[in-house]
Symmetry: C2
Subunit: 337 residues, 2 copies
């Protein structure tokens, strides 16, 4: 073998080693849909720190609690919350049994697709819609209604089931945290019984790790069958200052990591990461929607998922801000197929 072929051979072997290493890294990269920018590095550094036995930042497994907002953090919340789309669909499908709805607001507006009048009805109108469509049946009946709807409903822009409009980088993050001994919880302003029928399948988060808003239920024995009847009465709103209370009520320990995208998540992020008595490593992250092309762009001036105060707080408190456009290689799982 003369010098040239030896050189080429050596280069080739070097190239092979390089490619093999790159391949191995690609195969073992737990966050392949994240670009190699700041947020990915911050996540990995945090996880490595809290899982390194003997390190001063080590956190015992039972205390590795991570909480995730849902709308806008794990799945799309624009142009309207999916749960509102569900309520509107329910009004339409139940309208034949409610002839009075044709003449009564906010139902009339829904049936006439008059979003302007609906919006003018404000929060009062929305609560009426929610109660009319989420109460008045048993928990099991509601679970079936949600399960059937989520299997068939399609988003207007992407023409896909809502459960496909989840963020691939966040799915990877959930799995990465669990692989590192974290228990992952959802803490959402959305209805707890609207999420539970599908969170395990879609996010790997079981029903008992879902925290959300709820209405009151009433236990009744009917012909020997126990039922929980859903009353048209608010039990708990798991949003803003409610999130720490909901987390405390259902988990009973302080999370060490919180993931949100809006001002509704501000107090959850504060509760998780701040405070003189809250020792040890903590991690806060905000998903900033700035990719109108692949998803949506909104922050300080929007009706759903307003990100204003929390964005300012992120800078002050050293929370990681995900710039969707530059930090996420892939947005949706279907892009990978």
């Amino acid at each position: 073998m003369h010098a040239f072929s030896r050189l080429v051979g050596g280069a080739f072997i070097g190239l092979c080693a390089f490619l093999a290493a790159a391949l191995a890294q690609a195969q073992t990269d737990p966050l392949p849909s994240w670009n190699d920018t700041g947020p990915k590095a911050a996540i990995v550094a945090f996880v490595e720190k809290v899982t390194k036995a003997g390190s001063p930042d080590f956190v015992a497994e039972p205390d590795r609690i991570a909480v995730f907002d849902n709308d806008g953090t794990l799945w799309v919340e624009h142009p309207m919350y999916t749960q509102l789309a569900f309520a509107l669909d329910r009004v339409k499908s139940e309208a034949p049994s409610h002839p009075e709805w044709k003449e009564t607001q906010p139902f009339k507006a829904v049936l006439e697709d008059d979003m302007k009048t609906l919006a003018a009805g404000g929060e009062k109108g929305l609560v009426e819609l929610i109660m009319a469509t989420h109460a008045g049946m048993t928990s099991e009946e509601f679970q079936k209604i949600v399960t059937d709807w989520i299997a068939t409903a399609r988003d207007g822009r992407f023409k896909r089931p809502y459960t496909e409009l989840v963020y691939q980088p966040m799915l990877e993050l959930l799995a990465y945290l669990r692989a590192n001994g974290f228990k992952t919880f959802i803490a959402s302003g959305g209805g707890i019984e609207f999420m539970r029928p599908w969170t395990e399948k879609v996010y790997g988060v079981p029903a008992e790790q879902v925290i959300g808003s709820s209405i009151k239920t009433q236990f009744e024995m009917k012909d020997g069958t126990p039922t929980l009847f859903r009353l048209p009465e608010v039990n708990f709103i798991d949003d803003k200052a409610g999130k720490p209370s909901g987390i405390n009520e259902q988990i009973g320990r302080r999370p060490i990591a919180a993931f949100g995208n809006s001002d509704g998540d501000l107090e959850m992020l504060q509760w998780t990461t701040l405070g003189s008595g809250n020792a040890g490593p903590r991690f806060g992250l905000i998903v900033h929607h700035n990719d109108a092309e692949r998803e949506y762009a909104y922050d300080r001036n929007t009706e759903f998922g307003k990100l204003d105060e929390a964005l300012d707080a992120a800078a002050v408190n050293n929370w990681t801000v995900v710039d969707m456009k530059t930090d996420w290689k892939t947005i949706f799982p279907f892009e990978l197929k």
Copy 2:
């Protein structure tokens, strides 16, 4: 070797084999503090049935949810609920900061050890006591108060910490269920934040698997530190018909096994075991306190832990009833030392 020595030798070998088998059985018996009577057999049969892959009664691991009442089911509730003993102790230790209590009921009665007047004050008086001793501080402060109290307080009869007055057979049952893929939850009428500081250590049940009564909390940022302030306002009473609602709210799926001891557990047992839509194997068990010598004897006529309707329902619904006197070999862990 002549015939006699061969005979003796054979008998000896036989005896050894017998002893070894007995020893192996004793070592592998997951419920050694249970006598070999009906309840133990029923528990083992149920667990073997739902864990046997391929059997029609097989239950997938995530659905193996078991719920346990606490007072009278996992630990002693006589002569008064431990949480009430805590409230009385707190009134006494806080009295110097509340000179007005000397002249105000129900505090006056507590300070004078006048149980008769206290009892006459009824539920209204009790709620006042609970609010005065359980609210008005942050969650973290309350957690520390409970942790300190439970470490030092002693029961009047057994002269031991309350956390030693737990039932050894139930500790074995909790461990046996978990070893078979069950997730064990507490669903107690007691305060959720009164239990959480010690349930993991004592029962192996982590905070997030404790359901209980609660008062409202309010999130506040104080000098940059987030706090949850405990308000003197009832949030949820996890007793009687409240238990199925609490279980549904926090777990979000139907348990397949429930363990209680009083009428306060009736609806939880119904919710767990009954109903046309509630298919598959289900298990209900009631601890019947009938051992005044080793513990206490009470059922249909008692102030704490009344067992009347639920005892009748047990016969109708085929729930297992534990007769403490005959079914439990050991009552308390300290008997084993």
